[in-house]
């Protein structure tokens, strides 16, 4: 039952993210190159999250738990990597844009990049550890 609840919540979150992206794209009008990159990363993240949800549904349908000690331990490790990535991206993103271009990032841009980078690192390391076994 607990596994089912988590699947429902995760599905709602993914649907809300897709809806937000849809409204963002509708409201933007003309999309710039850097926005395509950010939206692309968000879509990749949504795709990977959908894969994780589908995998949980498959297990629950077979009568197996959606998560166990291995997946919980993987989540903790991936969360740690995501947290480290968030810290370093917050430090290096403004520095990188300062050195490489004239464009000065706004606080909102940095926050968006930090969220995307940490989420990307979390999902990628989760899947890597999931397939590797530990």
């Amino acid at each position: 039952m607990k596994g089912k609840k988590e699947i429902i919540v995760a599905t709602i979150v993914v649907a809300l993210v897709l809806l937000t992206l849809f409204f963002y794209l509708m409201g933007t009008g003309k999309i710039e190159l850097n926005q395509i990159g950010l939206v692309g990363i968000a879509l990749v993240l949504v795709g990977l999250a959908m894969y994780i949800i589908w995998d949980k549904i498959r297990n629950v349908q077979k009568g197996l738990p959606g998560k166990d000690e291995r997946t919980i331990s993987i989540s903790y490790k991936a969360g740690y990597y995501g947290f480290i990535a968030a810290i370093w991206s917050a430090v290096f993103t403004p520095l990188f844009f300062d050195v490489s271009s004239e464009y000065e990032l706004k606080g909102g841009d940095v926050a968006a990049i930090v969220v995307l980078v940490s989420a990307f690192v979390f999902v990628v390391s989760y899947l890597y550890l999931y397939w590797k076994g530990k």
């Binding site: 009568g63 738990p65 166990d68 000690e69 291995r70 590797k132 076994g133």
Partner: protein, 65 residues
């Protein structure tokens, strides 16, 4: 770390999925333990040993032994 899980599963005619259901973990977890890619917690090792009617000592082979 190596294990005797595969041999014991065969003895009791259990698939990885059957064993996973018995102890309440995902099938992949059994697969990775069998392959030596995941070290289970003491509780999980105990549950597997109990399900296969053996002891932890007989189930797992540690590299230095």
């Amino acid at each position: 770390m190596k294990t005797h899980i595969k041999e014991l599963r065969a003895r009791y005619d259990l698939t990885q999925e059957d064993l996973a259901k018995k102890i309440g973990v995902r099938r992949e977890t059994i697969l990775f333990i069998e392959k030596g890619n995941y070290n289970p917690s003491l509780k999980l090792a105990h549950d597997i040993a109990k399900a296969l009617q053996t002891t932890i000592d007989d189930l797992f082979i540690f590299e230095d032994e």
